[in-house]
């Protein structure tokens, strides 16, 4: 097969993976902000998308794919291997999205590449200590660290605002704790920004790797501008589309989250990601965010984690590497059979993706119904000003209806009156 053609296919597939990565991980930064009502669903994903886009440009350091170190030196990571690995990662991301499971996109990518390398070169291709060190152990510790941080932070937040809360109740003025929502806007943005710098880099690394392998770029020490722009765009579009099923799981499925908890969870997520990426310990953004939500859920008195759902999520994490690896390996066998294998594989991936999207339409979850059960809870914690505003709006609507019935042509005049 024409090498340029296969490189083009891999780049396209890598950008599609980037897209699924974006919409899979929207939940990490926006779920708790949506759940507490700090941000409206559409606003939250828009902010996350912009932050992801900006984040992708911020880091101009070389996008080194960690996946390379999982595969032993001497194994030729050509476009075909990356092609097979990407299919595993994409299909796993789409499957977990359909099930509403927050799973790590990085692990899916590692799994796919490791599986493909196994199929290409056998067991000797895999650097098992590196797999343990970079994937398995971090997966065990990420949720624990973030969970503990969020748990303690939630406790502190409730402790610190305890008296002011009771005094406010006595005076009959709204509840002070809903002010935590203001802080949430900033923390969720920071989480999205750090996600953008991390995850867009992954796709840039994969594309650069393939360009170098195909001899279209001399060395891997710079990233082409079109790679940066297209990776940033793909992840931002994916983020804006929003994996609403996963947002629902993280925002309301794992635990019921109130503003103080939401802030604690997001601060814990942001600081854990920042600490690990600066101190050289690779943690998955998704696992950190899920752990933060669970810790915050436990931290509030009367709050509870839905262990049933949490168990499902953790099971998903355990299966990420082997499942994406299995698809990657199968895909690699197809690819190895020649050009027809590659085309067959591509058709297979596209048709399975379309099938998953079709299945998802049976019970659509989007910005309008994502957290319908949580909306009831957020009404209780609404500030009096919001309640008054809502009441005034309802009144306005009712009066408009009446005037519209009486004199439909004068509606312009009443509008300007109402505008005063």
């Amino acid at each position: 097969m024409d090498p340029i053609l296969i490189v083009a296919l891999v780049v396209g597939l890598a950008l599609f993976f980037d897209f699924t990565n974006g919409f899979h991980d929207t939940a990490n930064s926006s779920a708790t902000a949506i759940a507490t009502g700090a941000l409206k669903p559409k606003t939250a994903v828009l902010i996350a998308a912009i932050m992801n886009f900006v984040g992708a440009f911020l880091s101009t350091a070389v996008a080194k794919a960690i996946s390379v170190s999982l595969i032993n030196e001497g194994i030729d990571i050509g476009p075909e291997l990356v092609f097979a690995g990407l299919t595993g990662a994409i299909l796993w991301n789409l499957t977990t999205w359909l099930l509403g499971l927050p799973s790590s996109s990085s692990h899916a990518l590692f799994g796919g590449l490791v599986g493909a390398a196994l199929a290409f070169a056998g067991v000797a291709a895999i650097n098992f200590p590196a797999v343990l060190e970079k994937v398995v152990f971090p997966a065990l510790f990420a949720p624990v660290i973030a969970g503990l941080a969020a748990f303690l932070a939630t406790r502190i937040a409730y402790l610190m605002t305890a008296r002011s809360q009771s005094s406010r109740k006595a005076t009959g003025i709204g509840t002070g704790r809903s002010n935590f929502k203001v802080g949430q806007v900033f923390t969720s943005s920071l989480v999205a920004l750090s996600h953008g710098t991390n995850d867009a880099q992954k796709t840039m690394g994969v594309i650069t790797l393939v360009l170098v392998a195909a001899g279209l770029q001399p060395t891997g020490d710079h990233v082409e501008w079109w790679v940066i722009i297209s990776a940033a765009t793909a992840i931002a579009v994916g983020t804006y589309m929003g994996g609403w099923r996963i947002i629902k799981t993280m925002g309301s499925g794992l635990a019921e989250i109130k503003p103080a908890q939401g802030l604690a969870a997001e601060v814990a997520t942001a600081s854990t990601i920042l600490a690990s990426s600066n101190l050289g310990f690779a943690l998955s953004t998704t696992q950190v965010a899920s752990g933060g939500v669970m810790g915050a859920g436990l931290g509030r008195k009367g709050g509870a984690v839905r262990w049933n759902k949490a168990g499902q999520v953790v099971t998903g994490w355990l299966f990420t590497l082997p499942a994406a690896g299995a698809v990657g390996a199968l895909s690699a066998f197809l690819v190895m059979s020649g050009p027809f294998g590659i085309i067959a594989d591509l058709i297979l991936v596209v048709s399975v993706s379309i099938a998953i999207f079709q299945i998802s339409r049976r019970n659509r979850i989007n910005h309008s119904n994502v957290l319908s059960e949580v909306e009831g809870a957020s009404e209780v914690i609404a500030s009096p000003r919001q309640v008054r505003k809502a009441a005034a709006e309802a009144k306005k609507k009712a009066s408009k209806k009446v005037t519209a019935k009486k004199a439909p042509k004068k509606s312009a005049a009443t509008k300007s009156k109402g505008g005063k």
């Binding site: 984040g55 880091s59 610190m160 605002t161 750090s194 854990t272 600490a275 310990f281």
Partner: protein, 85 residues
């Protein structure tokens, strides 16, 4: 094989900074609430005004600390600022 030192370091830094930040933010919120309560529920005398101002200034100081922490986070994210590490 597993780098326990960096794991423990990550855990300490992550837990410490989240607890610290949330403490400061909550303190700021509480001071702000105090200031509002003083403003609305006590008669305006000079001493009251001063204590309201102290609470309010304290609150803004706390929020400033939180804001700088967020800026520091952005500084950490952008490698351009510390390339010569």
């Amino acid at each position: 094989m597993i780098n326990w030192n960096s794991l423990i370091l990550v855990a300490i830094v992550a837990i410490g900074s989240s607890v610290g930040l949330v403490t400061v933010f909550s303190l700021g919120m509480r001071l702000l609430t105090n200031a509002q309560n003083i403003n609305q529920h006590t008669k305006k005398k000079d001493g009251v005004k001063v204590s309201e101002a102290i609470n309010r200034i304290g609150a803004y100081l706390m929020f400033t600390i939180c804001g700088s922490a967020v800026l520091y986070g952005i500084y950490l994210i952008v490698p351009y600022f510390h390339l010569d590490k």
